[in-house]
């Protein structure tokens, strides 16, 4: 636990000593709220709900998650500090978890920056607080999943750009898999494939939680996905050394 917190603090400082984290948070904030107002026609809908706002999140995370997570191990590999870190008397999983948690703080800060839209719905109407909570919970878990995927990819390469591109592609597939147009296209020919697409799709889980439906299935899938990606990271790091 102590080691996790030491690594966590260092990573967090590395994020916030760098303009990148602030830039990413601002971009997330502007995009998520901007898209809701402009494309989502937030005000025209006359509905005191943030469902549309939360539905944009998976699309933003597709790039935002990889942009936060790409430096996690790629940067260590590039600077050669992996060798320093892994010859310290700590376990690789402690370093992995510490780094992942620090990236999640950046994600949480980005979500916090969207508070103005929550304030707006409360001013304009009387929204369902539980729905907003479940939307944020889903959004956080999905963001964390995109970071965990990127974390595993970043262990593979010393190039942050390669990591970004590969991770964006994987996240794109995971978002798209359950998107209505894809599901509608698959359902007539292969209904099981459409169900599978829904089950693994970040978009589908988010669309459920944005409507206030927090299913055990969603929570289990997302936490398992995160745990699996972090485990995969440790396997990659170990196999790179062998």
């Amino acid at each position: 636990m102590r080691h996790i917190s030491i690594i966590f603090k260092r990573e967090l400082a590395a994020y916030f000593n760098n303009p990148l984290a602030y830039v990413l948070i601002i971009i997330f904030s502007v995009l998520s709220m901007g898209l809701t107002f402009v494309i989502g026609k937030f005000l025209d809908l006359n509905d005191a709900s943030l469902t549309n706002f939360f539905l944009f999140h998976p699309w933003i995370y597709m790039i935002f998650g990889p942009a936060i997570g790409m430096r996690l191990w790629s940067e260590e590999h590039r600077m050669g500090t992996t060798e320093l870190l892994l010859t310290m008397p700590i376990s690789p999983w402690e370093a992995i978890v510490g780094k992942f948690l620090a990236a999640c703080v950046v994600l949480a800060a980005a979500l916090l920056s969207t508070i103005p839209i929550v304030v707006t719905v409360y001013i304009l109407g009387s929204p369902d607080g539980q729905m907003i909570f479940s939307g944020y919970l889903g959004s956080f878990l999905i963001g964390a999943a995109t970071i965990a995927i990127t974390c595993a990819i970043s262990a593979l390469t010393r190039s942050q750009i390669s990591c970004l591109l590969i991770s964006v592609f994987i996240c794109f597939l995971l978002v798209l898999a359950g998107f209505p147009s894809v599901a509608d296209f698959l359902r007539p020919t292969a209904p099981w494939l459409a169900d599978l697409g829904n089950a693994i799709s970040l978009w589908w889980h988010q669309s459920e939680m944005a409507r206030g439906l927090v299913r055990l299935q969603s929570l289990a899938y997302l936490t398992t996905l995160i745990a699996f990606c972090l485990y995969l990271t440790s396997v990659i790091i170990r196999s790179k050394r062998a």
Binding site: H3, I6, R10, A13, A14, N17, N18, M79, G80, T81, E83, L84, L86, T87, M88, P89, I90, S91, R238, R241, A242
Partner: protein, 330 residues
């Protein structure tokens, strides 16, 4: 001091033991059945051509790379069974001295100290001591990415010694430093070598003579020589050979007489002029240091010849290095 002298066994503690260590990268054998023991108080110079397996060996000793076969024991703790306990006993300076560029020198050392289990006042004291030992006072609050190579190297060295480890593994600690900085680092190693077990790799052979109590040369993953720097020097081909220039009547025909001396072997590069002889006499066996020189001196004195040059080659480490490691190349 008296306490330590009365306990010689303490000095002989085996700090680093590696047995039959091998490492394969696919079909390539980087380290091949290598065994080494380093005791407390020993500074071992690790020599070998590029690609000989020095860095790979060090990476296995420090627990970074898992070995394909063999065992590593640090201060009695097995690296494979108890990696964290074994790693805690080691300070490691990797090749190229990697650092977190976004941190300050003091911040980085404090981070390293925390990972080494230090906290509070002990942590502060350790950071201060490392900063002083490695002469980093001037740059302590500077960001690492603004440091010159010499400072970067010393910052990474400071990280390696911050927990006062019993074992130090230093991969080319003087690489890229200017002569003054090299001197500083060599003196540091020499000083720390009194109380620790140190392995350091280098390409600079004079460095080994300057601060090692023992030198090991490896080639293609195998130990090809192991001994004190003096022992290794004596094993060089030219070691013990005597270069002479003798003048006087009859000196020109001296070659035969020199070759008949009790300890003499072959004679190389003989140059004869009217009244002088010049050449290099090799000893028959390398064990009789000085005997050949005495014989030549006596021969000249008995015949009233003038010895205008007499030089016994002590042997050079770089000769030895070349002889042992060049056969297999190109």
């Amino acid at each position: 001091m008296t306490n330590r002298q009365s306990r010689p066994s303490f000095q002989l503690a085996r700090m680093i033991e590696i047995h039959h260590l091998s490492k394969h990268f696919g079909p390539k054998v980087a380290v091949d059945n290598l065994s080494l023991t380093v005791q407390k108080g020993q500074v071992l110079g690790f020599l070998g051509p590029n690609g000989a397996g020095k860095s790979t060996t060090m990476r296995m000793i420090t627990g970074y790379l898992p070995p394909s076969a063999g065992s590593i024991t640090i201060g009695g703790v097995d690296m494979l069974d108890n990696p964290n306990t074994a790693k805690a006993k080691i300070g490691y300076l990797p090749e190229s001295a990697p650092l977190y560029a976004d941190m300050t020198v003091a911040g980085f050392l404090s981070f390293a100290a925390e990972l080494r289990g230090l906290s509070g006042a002990a942590k502060k004291a350790a950071v201060e001591k490392a900063i002083t030992t490695c002469f980093l006072e001037k740059v302590r609050s500077q960001s690492i990415d603004t440091l010159s190579k010499g400072y970067r190297h010393r910052t990474c060295l400071a990280q390696a010694i911050i927990h006062d480890p019993e074992v130090l593994i230093l991969d080319e600690p003087t690489d890229g430093l200017d002569p003054n900085q090299k001197d500083v680092v060599r003196n540091l190693i020499k000083e720390m070598g009194k109380t620790k077990a140190i392995i350091f790799s280098t390409h600079i052979l004079e460095e080994v003579e300057a601060c090692c109590t023992r030198a090991v040369i490896i080639d293609q993953g195998k130990v090809v020589a192991d001994g004190t720097p003096d022992e290794l020097k004596r094993r060089a081909l030219r070691a013990g050979s005597v270069h002479v220039k003798i003048t006087g009547p009859g000196a020109a025909s001296l070659a035969g007489d020199l070759a008949r001396l009790g300890h003499a072997g072959r004679i190389e590069d003989p140059v004869t002029a009217d009244d002088s002889f010049q050449g290099t006499v090799y000893p028959k066996a390398k064990t009789a240091t000085g005997a050949l020189t005495t014989e030549i001196y006596d021969l000249c004195r008995n015949r009233n010849l003038t010895l205008s040059e007499l030089h016994e080659e002590p042997g050079r480490l770089d000769d030895m290095f070349r002889e042992l490691t060049s056969q297999n190349q190109v």
